[in-house]
């Protein structure tokens, strides 16, 4: 984007914000049934607030919560109870409700975040339903009247700012507008911060994020706290708007589902998507209800929501934000051209096809920071999967600066060893020590922080992030600012020879490039020991020498290496020592040329495996 375009965009945004702020006044003067339209506008703002708050955990991190109405209900009830019993202003109750909801979020996060995908969703439904039913059955809580399913009425007191009540309905629009602006600003700030990068990466592949030294449970918890707080704030607003709350309405599954639908339709994980979803869905739902006549039919708008959700999931799975944003960009460019003259033609070098790989930078200068290499020692490690043996009594050492190859047929336990060392699996017996410190049982991110990095056999780039952002996620824990993380990322990308792909979305990389990206990511965590799982696999003969060269250069940085590899020629050319596994047991160990020419090893690799047992 040009500077001129940025100026235009900012101008448009401010103009739109001001125009929207005056919309209630406009509605009042222009429309005959202004009360009705004002009400719809308020609901748009309210749902935009909820969906934006939901999106921070649901969209950014792809943790599809179907129980967010619970936070809304908590917000509504806490502020209302404080007001009714202690006369505390709902403005203060709003913050108290937010804190209460965040606390509730912290409590349910521990069981819920252990679950993935649909099971996380089901668990959130269960918690919200429990809260709803319990609320419906509870008349008094510690002596305080909560009135069960009959709900609580907030007595009207006329216009009183302190009591959060207004007779002029447009005032609610101004309040909702302000709250929405705050919510959007927070959502935007989160998206731009390192938290936002972490969340996006978690949404793509949580396990891979852990391998980069990031405590994903903590990151998800922080996002949930923010999301729960903001949803509860919306809950207080809801209570003050309708002045009547029941568990059945406030904590309804329908309400949770509507937040999800608006965010999905607008664009999961985008800042403005949920707002767009609300802008479209709320009026459409409202008009449907009006057209089909009758307030008794509560579900009429849900038919439309359901149809739209199905269409979006089928035909625009990324939501409509992308289209709208594209149209806006073109509009902004057109305005900028008008105001400042046409843009100078730019050389689009970023995505130009590259025939020749650019010269990879030769050194990363890691020795200085790595603090010296240290040994990895596995002693008598055993891992069983149910009845099957993964690894049995394996002892193995990687000395400082050494390059050890791990070979063996499929199913011999190589990747299992990697998973044990990096904390993705826990052994039943034996010990694993790094730098003399036992590491078995530590979570993956802690092990990475100690200086062990890994790549995955099947590469796992964060497909929604750019190449540079992929590596930034790995660099963040050691950098104070985003700029520093990007500089570090660019250095690592230059080292592996991916400088020409920096701003490409990682999904568009070839297999060879993905393998390099994964190495750059691992290197950005500043490892002292690097575990490489078949980084040569799937490469053609032409790309092989470059990858071997890269491995040599990583070694020259003073990093110890443990390498899983099938290509024996490769492994003899880069390793000092080879460990051969078969059926989970170590059967040979020694210098590369010796092991490779061992008749037993040849027998196992080429055929006649039965001879061993």
């Amino acid at each position: 984007m040009r500077d001129e375009e940025r100026r235009v965009a900012l101008g448009l945004a401010v103009a739109a914000a001001i125009a929207l702020a005056f919309l209630p006044a406009l509605i009042r003067t222009l429309l005959a049934d202004h009360a009705y339209w004002n009400q719809i506008y308020v609901w748009v703002l309210f749902f935009a607030m909820c969906a934006t708050a939901w999106n921070i955990i649901g969209g950014y991190a792809r943790q599809y919560s179907f129980g967010h109405a619970a936070f809304l209900g908590i917000g509504a009830y806490v502020s209302t109870l404080l007001y009714l019993n202690l006369g505390v202003s709902p403005w203060i109750g709003m913050l108290a409700g937010g804190i209460a909801a965040a606390l509730a979020g912290a409590i349910i996060s521990y069981p819920c975040f252990r679950l993935r995908g649909a099971f996380f969703s089901l668990a959130t439904i269960a918690f919200a339903e429990m809260l709803r039913v319990w609320g419906e059955l509870t008349d008094r809580l510690f002596g305080i009247l909560v009135n069960g399913a009959r709900g609580l009425v907030i007595p009207p007191v006329g216009s009183d700012f302190w009591a959060f009540q207004f007779t002029e309905k447009a005032s609610y629009a101004y309040v909702a507008y302000t709250l929405l602006l705050i919510t959007l600003t927070i959502a935007w700030a989160v998206k731009r911060s390192r938290l936002g990068y972490y969340l996006a990466a978690i949404g793509d592949d949580e396990e891979a994020v852990q391998s980069l030294g990031v405590d994903t449970a903590r990151i998800k918890l922080i996002a949930l706290l923010i999301s729960a707080f903001l949803t509860a704030v919306a809950g207080t607003f809801y209570a003050q708007l309708v002045l009547f709350i029941t568990p059945t309405r406030a904590i309804s599954l329908d309400l949770s589902v509507q937040m999800v639908i608006m965010a999905v339709m607008g664009g999961l994980g985008t800042v403005f998507g949920p707002l767009l979803g609300a802008i479209i869905l709320v009026p459409v739902g409202e008009l449907t209800r009006a057209a089909l006549g009758g307030s008794t039919l509560q579900g009429a708008h849900l038919i439309v929501y359901g149809v739209i959700l199905m269409l979006v999931v089928r035909f625009a799975p990324k939501g409509i934000e992308a289209f709208v944003a594209g149209a806006f960009r073109r509009l902004i460019a057109a305005i900028a051209d008008r105001l400042y003259g046409p843009a100078k033609a730019q050389d689009d070098v970023v995505n130009a096809p590259i025939i020749q790989l650019p010269e990879a930078s030769s050194s990363l200068g890691l020795q200085a920071v790595a603090g010296g290499a240290v040994p990895l020692v596995l002693a008598d490690v055993t891992k069983r999967f149910g009845g099957a043996v993964g690894v049995k009594g394996v002892s193995l050492t990687v000395q400082p600066g050494e390059v050890v190859g791990l070979i063996g047929p499929n199913g011999s336990g190589k990747t299992t060893i990697f998973n044990l060392v990096t904390g993705y699996l826990e052994s039943q017996s034996g010990s694993i020590a790094f730098a003399g410190r036992p590491i078995a049982g530590l979570p993956p991110h802690r092990i990475n922080r100690l200086g062990i990095a890994r790549t995955f056999q099947i590469v796992r780039p964060f497909t929604s992030l750019t190449v540079a952002e992929n590596v930034m996620v790995a660099a963040f824990p050691r950098c104070t600012t985003a700029a520093a993380a990007r500089t570090e990322a660019l250095r690592c990308l230059a080292f592996v020879g991916l400088s020409h792909r920096v701003d490409t979305i990682a999904d568009g990389l070839s297999t060879g490039e993905r393998k390099r990206l994964e190495l750059a990511r691992a290197l950005a965590t500043r490892p002292r020991l690097l575990l490489m799982d078949e980084v040569m696999g799937g490469l053609d003969q032409r790309s092989l020498p470059a990858m071997i060269d890269l491995v040599q250069r990583i070694r020259a940085e003073g990093i110890s290496l443990l390498i899983i590899e099938h290509k024996l020629k490769v492994i003899t050319s880069v390793t000092d020592r080879i460990v051969m596994l078969h059926l989970g047991e170590k059967i040979r160990e020694g210098a590369a040329c010796e092991v490779v020419s061992d008749p037993l090893v040849i027998d196992i690799y080429v055929g006649g495996a039965a001879a061993v047992r």
Partner: protein, 299 residues
């Protein structure tokens, strides 16, 4: 306060009633499990499809006087076709696109479908409870001091025979074996010449048809209502997680267990409290043994 002996009797009676309705719960969970076991996707519309089946049976009974237990003769083929088409038109295109092993987009798609079906039913049939009175509705047997509702007993029997039939189908027929093969590894199944897409269509169709049996079993003693699906869907989730994902006997036993929990808890407190207990069991299970009591943990 009843004495110790009377209390025990009450608890046994509660457990017995719960066990019997647990049969129907098991049937719904069976449908959910068949789809999950084959495709690794959660069908959010399972409860709503039960609601559709119940309305089909209800109208057949109301208009033609057909006994509810005979309605599956007509509803099963229709429901199978409905499920087959849902998979073909709505779910398959998503599966072809998704790379993830447990695609969330299918959950969203079926959620959309259930919103449409449930709220359309609400508009078309209103929120009134509809019930059917047949000979079995209020008939009971006495075994000693205990009361057995005959309609519920037939429901349990329907579940048992459906499980047996389905089991025979999955283990003895080519199509059944193909369904299991695709569930275990769709890539390998594909290499062996099985068209996994067609298998999915059949699996979804059968899963929907099972709702026809559940509906017929429910009709004599349960109300038909547009929102009936949500109640059963949430219970079915609990059952599936309790019994084990993808496990047929797990669905059956989980259904009975949930019925018993409900029946017994309902004796001591309000019936709605049983829901809280169920969800607490559910969350605890998810937490400590996500694969369920009879499920197999995957590596």
């Amino acid at each position: 306060m009843p004495g110790g002996g009377a209390m025990t009797e009450l608890v046994i009676q509660g457990a017995l009633s719960g066990l019997l309705i647990g049969g129907v719960y098991g049937l719904i969970a069976l449908g959910l499990n068949l789809v999950f076991g084959t495709m690794r996707v959660v069908n959010f519309a399972q409860g709503t499809l039960l609601m559709v089946a119940m309305f089909m049976s209800y109208w057949l009974t109301a208009k033609t006087g057909l006994h509810p237990y005979l309605t599956p003769l007509l509803t099963l083929p229709a429901l199978f076709g409905l499920g087959y088409l849902i998979q073909l038109w709505l779910v398959s295109p998503l599966l072809a696109r998704e790379k993830a092993r447990e695609p969330m987009s299918v959950l969203l798609m079926t959620l959309g479908l259930s919103l449409v079906l449930e709220n359309s039913a609400l508009m078309a049939f209103s929120a009134d409870y509809k019930t059917v009175q047949v000979g079995q509705t209020n008939a009971v047997w006495f075994i000693g001091d205990y009361i057995i509702s005959i309609a519920r007993f037939w429901g349990l029997l329907a579940m048992a025979s459906t499980v047996a039939l389905l089991w025979a189908f999955l283990t003895r027929t080519d199509l059944g074996r193909a369904i299991r093969a695709v569930g275990q590894d769709r890539q390998v199944a594909r290499l062996l010449g099985i068209d996994d897409r067609v298998i999915y269509n059949f699996a979804f169709g059968i899963s929907t048809a099972i709702m026809g049996i559940a509906a017929a079993a429910l009709l004599p003693f349960y109300y038909t209502h547009p929102a009936v699906g949500t109640t059963f869907l949430l219970k079915a989730f609990v059952i599936v997680v309790l019994g084990g994902l993808g496990s047929m006997p797990g669905a059956a036993l989980g259904g009975l267990a949930v019925g018993v929990i409900e029946g017994v808890v309902g004796i001591f407190t309000e019936a709605a409290m049983a829901q809280i207990v169920l969800f607490a069991v559910f969350v605890t299970m998810l937490f400590f043994r996500p694969a369920g009591l009879l499920g197999v943990e995957r590596k």
